[in-house]
Amino acid sequence: MSIKIRYFASLKDYIGHSEDEIIYEKALTVSEVWQQATQNKIKPQNTLVAVNMDYVSWDELVNDSDEVAFFPPVTGG
């Protein structure tokens, strides 16, 4: 199972790059994706997550070829 991961704004600065990809055998939750991709980095407070461009909760299961994005609270408008 291949999962694409993206980081935006201050979270991209925190991680140090904007994209990751992980290959995994079993189904993962969004929380587990964070742990695998960031090698257990502490998750900044208020971090948001989207799967395939929709907001999800951290226990959501991720499917093959999903795009998972992590980012801080939005500040547009």
Partner: protein
């Protein structure tokens, strides 16, 4: 119903006039339009800001804005909606966002425009980074609440 994300300046009044002349339909049923324009201020949290960079998540931004428009259409009788949002580098005084809601009645136009702005501010994946006059850069941490009044009209 139109969503535009662009890295070139928004000219609110020209953009609105052009939109009304070329894209807007059912003109004679329109009795009310409510327009919000958000502009870059040159101060924030007590500091003088000289430039702002707006990052976004291409694809998700449009998806979320279209969901917000769909939610507004479910709650109010709207003839058309236009959302324009700037990305990239922005200077003080330049517009960041424009939302316009056209309806037959003013209640719907006002409510929908405000609903869209509040939801855009909390759900659309845009992020602002400010450059201060001392060249220091910082991410804006969170949007202020667009408090709803408890005052009577």
């Amino acid at each position: 119903m139109t969503v535009i994300i662009k890295d070139t300046p928004i000219n609110p009044y020209q953009d609105l006039q052009e939109y009304e002349e070329t894209k807007l339909t059912k003109n004679n049923a329109i009795g009310a339009s409510n327009i919000f324009i958000g502009t870059m201020r040159d101060f924030n949290e007590g500091d003088h800001v000289k430039l702002m960079s707006l990052e976004h998540y291409p694809g998700m931004t449009e998806k979320q804005l279209n969901k917000i428009i769909a939610a507004a259409n479910q709650q109010w009788a709207l003839i058309d909606i236009l959302i324009i949002h700037r990305v990239g580098d922005i200077l003080p005084n330049e517009p960041i966002v424009l939302v316009s809601a056209w309806s037959s009645h003013r209640g719907d136009a006002f409510d929908a425009c405000r609903f869209i702005m509040e939801n855009l501010k909390s759900k659309a994946p845009f992020w602002k980074k400010e450059r201060l006059i001392n060249e220091q850069e910082r991410w804006v941490i969170s949007n202020t609440k667009g408090y709803l009044t408890t005052k009577n009209y």
